[in-house]
């Protein structure tokens, strides 16, 4: 505690550092980078160059606070000459400064709600998404609760889903002890145990008895859906636990050994279970699960977080830790996990470590590897062979002409590059990130304000229905991560959310009313949407679009018909009508470019 205070005083130069205790996240980031670099060198892959500042600010905003930055935030960051400005930005986003604090809490509550209980609920399940969301937002992430404490509260939760957020985990996956046990091991240990429910695992070490030894920890817990008499249609879920005496026994409920009783003797990792006297079974389980000696606990969460930030875990899929599925970078995984545990399971600290790595900060450009030119090969034939354009190949090699036997560089296939973290993956924005980012892009001021949350939540719920088709099926772990669909594309092109927001865009109104050059306006629109300034080519192209529209408008304005009553045309009225035609045309041109920007891959992916 004293150490922490000293640190607070010493480090006012960097905001929020105190929140991380004494951990040196920069050194940890460097260590991770070294492990990644080692493997890259082994596979002779030269990673993509570092991200530009513009790429970086957009990525880190989306990843940490769930929305793109505003034009002003981008400009300020691009202008800053500070050497450690990326580190400072990360700290700011993790700090208690508003609006980042609210955005951080909201974003991570959304992420963890899905990690814990998926997206859809069975009808009448009693799951209450409001209570778990507010527990995560206003307790866990508002206080930066240590992760082990968060899991302990979930594992031991009692009461009803009306009153308690963490009870929802049990409501979602229970009440059957085998179901809830399998869910807990999958979510908190990254271990899939459900096969061992009915039979010994075919390839891995777990026997059926191991599973039931573990499931026995839920044998003292009862949960059920309660339908209040006065409010029959709003069921909730209630969980209660009876203390255990001396030992825990579970009964196999499926498979050939159905009915056999198993006494809990060893934990999944082989630790001997020692229980005496009266105890709360789930508290004992939580103690074992979160104990420093349990390697899966910390590894699972750092792997999940790494996967979240990089688009790929060290272990894939993230919930499939087992001997037959080893991590791609065992040293990095082990180091991150131990470092996380040593720093008090501090999630903000972990985020600071990951986002400060060079690995996270790479661009989405091409990684390259050496290629020896064979006799008769030309740049064209090599490009064709690798399914890339000659231009791309030239960009990697400068003006060098390929000669037989000489070495040039060819791009590494995206998937291969990503398996060694040699480039930043393109990751589609989550529906929530996209929703908030569209509002941010058009300049709607309700994005960052908590007071308009109610209205915003309603709008978000309506819109999310289009993006997420809810199936009663939560273990969609195998789905490919890129899931663009036709209804989504139709909504993005023609939907009300986009088009009504475009025509009512506060940012456009502001820009068009301000005295500024068209080029400045275009510049701000790009900063506001893609978080980068436009290229010269883009400015020129937009200029021509605008000029074309204005020419059409001028022709139209010149032919405004005289008033219908046949009287003297009122010069002022006429001028106003003409001016409106011109300003409408100008406005429409801006709406159109904004439409193209928010529909582009550059907008819809984190890159």
């Amino acid at each position: 505690m004293i150490k922490r205070l000293t640190l607070l005083i010493l480090c006012t130069c960097l905001p929020a550092l105190a929140a991380f205790g004494q951990g040196d996240y920069m050194r940890a980031a460097q260590t991770v980078d070294e492990y990644i670099a080692k493997k890259l060198a082994e596979s002779k892959i030269i990673p993509a160059p570092p991200s530009s500042d513009a790429e970086f600010i957009r990525r880190v905003y989306l990843d940490i606070v769930g929305v793109i930055p505003s034009a002003e935030e981008v400009s300020a960051f691009l202008r800053s000459g500070a050497a450690n400005k990326r580190e400072r930005l990360i700290l700011t986003l993790l700090s208690d400064k508003q609006p980042y604090r609210d955005m951080y809490q909201e974003h991570w509550a959304t992420v963890w709600e899905q990690w814990l209980i998926g997206r859809g609920d069975r009808r009448d399940s009693g799951v209450n998404r409001a209570t778990i969301k507010s527990w995560l937002r206003d307790v866990v992430f508002a206080k930066n609760m240590p992760y082990d404490e968060m899991v302990r509260q979930i594992l031991t939760a009692q009461g009803t889903t009306e009153e308690s957020g963490p009870v929802n985990f049990f409501a979602k996956w229970g009440p059957n002890q085998a179901d809830i046990a399998a869910a807990a091991s999958r979510v908190f240990l990254g271990v899939r145990t459900s096969c061992a429910r009915c039979h010994d695992h075919k390839f891995e070490k777990w026997k059926q008895e191991d599973f039931w030894s573990y499931a026995a920890f839920f044998s003292r817990t009862q949960g059920r859906v309660v339908r209040p008499r006065d409010d029959f249609n709003r069921p909730f879920f209630a969980v209660a636990e009876q203390p255990a005496q001396g030992e825990l026994v579970a009964t196999v409920d499926d498979g050939p050994k159905k009915g056999v009783k198993v006494t809990a003797t060893t934990h999944l990792n082989g630790d001997v279970i020692q229980l005496t006297g009266t105890f709360q079974a789930r508290e004992e389980l939580a103690r074992w699960m979160t104990a420093p000696g349990n390697p899966w606990f910390a590894q699972n969460v750092v792997n999940k977080m790494w996967d979240y930030f990089l688009g790929r875990g060290f272990v894939n899929p993230v919930d499939d830790f087992r001997d037959g599925n080893p991590p791609s970078h065992p040293e990095a995984l082990k180091f991150l996990a131990e470092d996380f545990a040593a720093n008090g399971y501090n999630l903000k600290y972990l985020i600071a470590v990951i986002t400060n790595t060079k690995t996270y900060q790479r661009s989405s450009g091409l990684a390259k590897e050496p290629y020896t030119v064979r006799p008769g090969e030309t740049l064209e034939s090599i490009a064709q062979k690798h399914r890339i354009s000659v231009e791309t190949l030239r960009a990697l090699n400068g003006s060098a002409k390929p000669m037989a036997g000489s070495q040039i560089f060819v791009p590494v296939q995206p998937e291969k590059a990503e398996s060694v973290f040699a480039r930043a993956q393109l990751r589609p924005l989550s529906p929530e990130q996209l929703f908030y980012s569209i509002l941010q892009a058009v300049g709607a001021d309700d994005v960052r304000q908590a007071r308009s949350r109610q209205a915003l939540e309603q709008m978000k719920a309506n819109y999310l229905r289009r993006f997420i088709t809810l199936f009663d099926n939560d273990e969609q772990t195998e789905q490919t991560d890129f899931e663009a669909t036709i209804p989504q594309a139709l909504m993005m092109m023609n939907g009300d959310l986009i088009n009504s927001r475009l025509s009512a865009s506060p940012i456009l109104a502001q820009l068009l009313n301000a005295r500024m050059m068209e080029a400045q306006r275009v510049n701000l629109i790009f900063l506001q949407t893609l978080s980068r300034p436009p290229t010269n080519e883009e400015v020129t192209l937009f200029g021509r679009l605008l000029e074309g529209r204005l020419q059409q408008a001028r022709l139209k304005a010149a032919n405004v018909p005289p008033p219908a009553n046949g009287g003297q045309p009122n010069q002022q009225q006429l001028l106003q009508a003409q001016l409106k035609i011109l300003t409408d045309a100008q406005r429409q041109a801006y709406e159109d470019i904004l439409w193209s920007l928010v529909n582009s891959s550059e907008f819809m992916f984190i890159h």
Partner: protein, 453 residues
Amino acid sequence: MSDELISRKEGQESNECSGPIDFMKTEMARRGFIRVGFGGLLSLIAMQQTLNRALAQVPARVSGGVRPKSVILLWMGGGPTHIDTWDPKPGHKNGGTTRAINTRVPGVQIGHYLPQVAEQMDKICLIRSMTSNEADHTRATYFLQTGYKPNPTMVHPHIGSIVSKELGEKAPQYPLPHFISINGGTLGAGFLGAGHNAFVVQNPSRPVDNLELPQGLDDQRFRERLTFLNYFEEKVWKVTGDPKVKARYDVYNKALNMMSPQVRQVLDITQEPARLVQAYGDNNFGKGCLLARRLVEAAVKSGTSTFIEVHSGGWDMHNGIFRALETKMPELDAAMATLLRDLAERRLLNDVIVLWMGEFGRTPHINNNEGRDHYARAFSIALAGGGIRGGHVIGATSADGSEVVERKVTVPDLIATLYTILGIDVAKVIYNTLGRPMRLVDPEGAPIQELLA
């Protein structure tokens, strides 16, 4: 490709037009942004041409002598009663108030609620000996719609997604999705990915959401929006070479295809004569069946297959079943009978299999609330079209309707039969993203030979 198209358009129009600058014609086309590798398909011009080809009135292409076949799945959500539909038990106390009526086929009787369907019985094959052991809605729906029981190691694709993958991918230019679900959601494509999810038409009486340009947006503006978008996509593609960019681009093109007047016309049942709409029934199920026929017609004309699922809900009749049937069955009767007749009159019946089923049947025993509960041990399904033998019955249940006593048919048997009719290899093995194998049909399933004509 569209580079060329745009240039050509420019050439054509440049003679006559010296008015205001058309931004796209001059700038974009001249600079030729669209290059090899990235089709430049976001072009309305290219799109229209593809469409005209795809929906043209050409005879179906014959590949290997087999005309592609489609499926209309009439899905009775909640679990339809078998004793009151296809397997009546008059005289037994389990039969309730349901009477048996004769059909067009001598010797085959069905429940009295279906007089119009009885007239179409020569086209229908009944299976009265379906059996399963899944009696929970969620699990049973999964089983009947995928052919596999729920299993934590794999998310199986809906049978419509398999059809979309196996048959639909042979006709990539077809402007409509190959799997469409009418009247609500359905299971997903599992590990096949969202590209093979059903396109859901929420309400057949209303235009599909977002198929039309937003109000006040004219074609020129939309085209210029797309031109800019095309430019951005091209750029990102060049920098990243990422297949995800291409995949997203393809989805946008499919969405654009669906916005065409031709597709909107196919989806619009108001094109049909009022008398026919009435005959199908002025309700969402009847209209859904009518839309299904239009969609199958479009697929047949284009020489491809499609899988159309039409939902009918409310079959979970735990209470007062006979009263509930009084309103539910006339809808089914009119829609199903009219669909079969309409398909036959248009000579489409050989090109499409109509499959009627729900997730299970209902208890023969009538409970204390005058209802029937979930029952999977014995239930019925109905099939028609697709070249199968009509007018006969496979299997039978005991006098009380509770046991299969002749020719058990399992869910994998049924799916194997369906795929065999469609020409899909039941033994083909596909792999999920983790490399786990899945046989298209569970090896336990075998096609029902006596059903295949």
